[in-house]
Symmetry: C2
Subunit: 213 residues, 2 copies
C-alpha cells in the first residue's frame, strides 16, 4: 500500500475514532477535529466515510500480513512456526491497536448501507484478504498436524477459536496505558502458550514449549 503522508495522517485519526466510537457513531467532523482540521480536508482525500473505513481496514490487514508472513520462516518444527505466527499476530495487534480494532469491527459489520459497485468490490476484496489471513494459519496448522505435532478433529474450528482467543485481547488490553515492549511480549507469550499447550496440566511434557525468534 502506497500512501501519501496526508492520507496516512487521516487514516491514523480515523482508526482511533472508529475504535473508540465505532463506524456509525463516528462523524467525519470528529475525525477532522482530531487532526486539528475540518472535514474539507478529509473529503479532499476520501470520497466518503465508507471509503475511509475501507482504507483503514485495508491498512490494518496489510500490517497483519507484514507481521505474520515473515514468521512463517521462523526456526523450529511446524508447530513452533505456528506458535511464532500467533505471537507475531498478537504483537502486531498490540502495535497497531486502533487499526486492528477496526479490522475486527469490519468482520462484525454486515451492512454498510448502500454501496457503489466499486465499494462493493473493495469490500469483497477485504473479506477475501481476511480469509487469506486465516488460511495462512490453517495451512500451517495442517502442516503441524501432518507432522503429528497437533491434535484437532476439526482444523477450521481450531484455527478460528485460536485466532478468536488472540483477537479478543483487542478489547481487554489497551496498549496505550502500559506499552512496555517486554510486557507486550510476555502477554503474547502467555496467550500463545495457553492456546498451544492448553489449560490442562501436562504431566509428561511434550516438546513445542518455546516460541521461535
Amino acid at each position: 500500500m502506497e500512501l501519501t503522508q496526508a492520507r496516512r495522517e487521516i487514516l491514523e485519526a480515523a482508526a482511533a475514532c472508529f475504535m473508540e466510537q465505532g463506524f456509525h457513531a463516528t462523524s467525519i467532523d470528529v475525525v477532522a477535529r482530531r487532526m486539528g482540521a475540518t472535514k474539507g480536508r478529509v473529503y479532499h482525500h476520501y470520497q466518503s466515510k465508507v471509503d475511509l473505513f475501507f482504507d483503514v481496514h485495508r491498512l490494518g490487514m496489510a500490517l497483519l500480513f507484514d507481521a505474520v508472513e515473515p514468521a512463517r520462516q521462523a526456526p523450529g518444527d511446524a508447530l513452533q512456526v505456528l506458535a511464532a505466527m500467533m505471537r507475531a499476530h498478537a504483537l502486531a495487534m498490540f502495535r497497531h491497536h486502533a487499526f486492528e480494532s477496526v479490522v475486527v469491527q469490519g468482520v462484525q459489520l454486515h451492512r454498510f448501507g448502500a454501496l457503489t459497485p466499486r465499494q462493493r468490490q473493495e469490500l469483497d476484496e477485504l473479506i477475501a484478504s481476511r480469509d487469506r489471513f486465516e488460511q495462512l494459519f490453517k495451512q500451517q496448522a495442517a502442516a503441524a498436524r501432518d507432522a503429528g505435532l497437533l491434535q484437532a478433529p476439526d482444523l477450521s474450528v481450531a484455527v478460528k477459536t485460536l485466532l478468536g482467543g488472540l483477537q479478543w485481547s483487542l478489547i481487554w488490553y489497551r496498549p496505550e496505558i502500559d506499552d512496555s515492549q517486554a510486557t507486550q511480549e510476555r502477554l503474547a507469550d502467555a496467550m500463545v502458550n495457553l492456546l498451544v499447550q492448553g489449560l490442562a496440566t501436562r504431566r509428561q511434557g511434550s516438546a513445542a514449549g518455546g516460541q521461535g525468534a
Copy 2:
C-alpha cells in the same frame, strides 16, 4: 428478570437488529417494522434507544448466568467443572445468538453519548455483571490450579483468552443456518477441547478429556 410479553417481543426484535446492524446503525423504526408495528409501540415500553439496548444486554447476561451457574455443580474434578461451564457458555451463545452478540457489542462500545444518571448507573451495573461472569470462570480456574490440574502463569490472561476463543464463535458461526442440537454440541465440545487440551499433541494423556453432564 420479569418481563411482560410485550417487552419481550420488543427485545427479540431489537436484539436481532442490533446484531445485524449494530447499535448506532439501528433505528427504532426498523425495530418496530420487524414486529409489524411502528415506533409508537416501542416508545410506549422504552423511554429511549439506550434503555432498550441496556435491557437487551441485561437479558443477554441473565441468560448466560442461567446457563453457566448450574454447570458449576457438574460432576468431575475442578477442571472438568470448568470445561462444563465453558461448554454451557458456548451452547448458551448459540441458543441466544442475537442477545449474546449484543452483549459483546456492549463490551466494545465505549461511548453511548450523553447518559442520564440513571442510565449511567445501569451501565455500571451491566459492566459489573460482565465482571461477575468472568469471575465465575476465574474462580473455577483458580480451584483447578490449586488442585494441580491446570497450568497458567497468569490466570486472568488465561481466562480472558479462553472466553475470547469461545465468544469469537458469535461472529463466525450462525446457528440459524444449521441449528441441529447435535451439531451445536459437537462444535462446543471441539472449542472446549481445544482450549483445555491445547493444540499440541499429548504424548502421554493426562485426564480431563471429557466434559461433564
